[in-house]
Symmetry: C2
Subunit: 445 residues, 2 copies
Amino acid sequence: MSLTNASPEAAASSAKTASFTLATLPASARNAALETIHAALSEAKDDILAANAKDLEAARKAAADGSLSQALVSRLDLGKKGKWEDMLKGILDVRGLDDPIGQVQMRSQLADGLTMERVSCPIGVLLIIFEARPEVIANIASLAIKSGNSAILKGGKESTESFVAISKAISAALEKTEVPNGAIQLVTTRDAISQLLDQDRYIDLVIPRGGNELVRYIKGATKIPVLGHADGICSIYLTASADKDKAITGVVDSKTSYPAACNSVETLLVQDTALPTVLPGIAAALSEKGVSLRCDPASKAALASLSLPNIQDAVPEDYDTEHLSLTLSVKTVPSIDEAISHINAHGSHHTDAIFTSDKAEAERFMNEVDSAGVYWNASTRLADGMRYGFGTEVGISTNKIHSRGPVGLEGLTIYKYKIRGDYQPTTGYGEGEGKIPWTHARLPL
Amino acid sequence: MSLTNASPEAAASSAKTASFTLATLPASARNAALETIHAALSEAKDDILAANAKDLEAARKAAADGSLSQALVSRLDLGKKGKWEDMLKGILDVRGLDDPIGQVQMRSQLADGLTMERVSCPIGVLLIIFEARPEVIANIASLAIKSGNSAILKGGKESTESFVAISKAISAALEKTEVPNGAIQLVTTRDAISQLLDQDRYIDLVIPRGGNELVRYIKGATKIPVLGHADGICSIYLTASADKDKAITGVVDSKTSYPAACNSVETLLVQDTALPTVLPGIAAALSEKGVSLRCDPASKAALASLSLPNIQDAVPEDYDTEHLSLTLSVKTVPSIDEAISHINAHGSHHTDAIFTSDKAEAERFMNEVDSAGVYWNASTRLADGMRYGFGTEVGISTNKIHSRGPVGLEGLTIYKYKIRGDYQPTTGYGEGEGKIPWTHARLPL
């Protein structure tokens, strides 16, 4: 691992070379490297949190004068309850997972004496560009090493102090392991992003971890495939048959447990018949938690008698906005058809839920909503690699290919086909006189 | 299905709308549509081949004056032995495959009362851009319908007559099915490609079927993920322990059975100790088939006594060239290390083979060569969806994500996560006093 000032091209090239070695290391060597990283970070906790405090102080100042969002400050805070422990636990969780590499996913006999296997293997070189969230470095380094991929990390300037402190600890740790030096590259060169995005010869996948603007910029600026999500406009469709009391818990958790997260709910779609029955309790509970509601006329009217503070008129843009704060857009819909159409048109295909007691309605919603996560009576905040049991996550993808939803280890692998034969000519196979038939028989794994 | 003159944006938008309906059609309706298409094409065979003959005639003229490659003419020919029958058989093969949609790939209990399923679903809208190969229309239409995806097809001008004839037949056939009208869009508008590539709001995946230049242009011109391959520079590493007689069959098949195909071998790497033993018989057999050899000095010297015609001096660019014709680059290497390095640096990560009697050497080659297909004593021409038993193929991918190698039905699907719960707050889970533990237990499928 190196904290490098090398050119982006040199960093990418050496990461590629290292990837060939890393891909052939046994699981034991990759796991040992993770243990070494874990120990080094534990030991360096005080230094890292002190560095993070400097980043935080600068960020809070920037937030105070309006040049940085409060959401970003929140993401930066490594000292936030449980965050440090989660980061360290994530490394050991990843080590404890099954080796994703070398798994035979399919085995078949193509024809007599001709067998084929599909075997999982690393992707190659990953480029991870992140804004805040300094814990991403430890996450990505562990996931990359476990999955046999090289990784190039480029952090945002807001997390520079944390980034340098964490990377120093990881760098020193990796010197004691079999993981080759170039496998994890930390690029600190200013303005390196556009040059890194040109390295499609060496880099196989870009994973942006940041806001909408960053992701859109990256998608437009590179030929390399990009895995990630731009927005996180998640919705809950609240029906009249939802459990009145439990629905309060579900909506409050989805909105308030971490408003800056991409899996927080931003739009509450309310079935018209639920306006007088289920909505008021939810609105009151949200209001108590400090949530502002941006209501359409029907939902506003339904809540009028409660005299809640923080009720505002919604404007059309509210339904296309990721608030990332204690604000929730509320819209009344006459039916599940309208709810599904609204979500498919205005949502970001991330995570959407229906609250209902009707199983058939729930199944229809889950089948027809075109999102990575479709939930029945569950909090949108569940959309997370740890919560899904993947050990940790490299990000959440709203792509329609490769990996969708929380991306864990499996999303960092691809496969190759191995065929073993006896020099048979392909022209000898087929149907008809004198041809050898294909068997295409699945063999046990 | 419509052969449309609508704007690219309108075509993409209506394909997206249709995709939501198509995604919910049962397998029986999608399979019935394939049978209807099969019958319609069988019936229209004479008309389609007559149209194809017109395309071929124009292409042959263009090839004669040098404005079109012979490889493209070869790809255009729908009357070529077995091609029509393969196209029709492909449709029924696809119909006969298991439904790729709605498959539960993973089921787990996240915690008590909270279950998660990963279920396969269509990607959405595919954009297929192809140059020649008119059979692509039938292939793509069947694969898209079977997998519940909408498809927008844009053909090259060389195959216009064939394209119109095939699409007329398919279009009339689909009118009798439940597949919605907008699900298969055939765009004939000139110069529509750049506008189609801007429709990232509606189109989820671009699949170019054409040469290097087309693929590179597309990758640089769109934010939509692109699945495909640019080059097909496949290599065979011939070792001294290869079976002398069988190796002749293997190399001749890899080079001559369809030189215009992307899976034909372009480079023969020869272990130095194999120069006097294994190479001469292969060179003589290739020469007899009309293959020109571009040799490095060592291999040229080894063949000098044979006085073969068509032996030329290789230039460095030969090892980075997809000849797509009866030309083969030959290079001498001292060891498997050099062979692997050469392939990883100069190949196109498509399909590469080792010819050897040494199992350990073969396994090492297959593990370390970074290609979609890695073969031991097998022809590179095996890299094909039909030969792999996928029913047909949508293309061959050298991407490092999603789908690699021949892409069949599975490559046209993604998945969603369905979670069923009871409104539990996520804040209630975790470790420690009063927290509910995650179970993350795999459940049977």
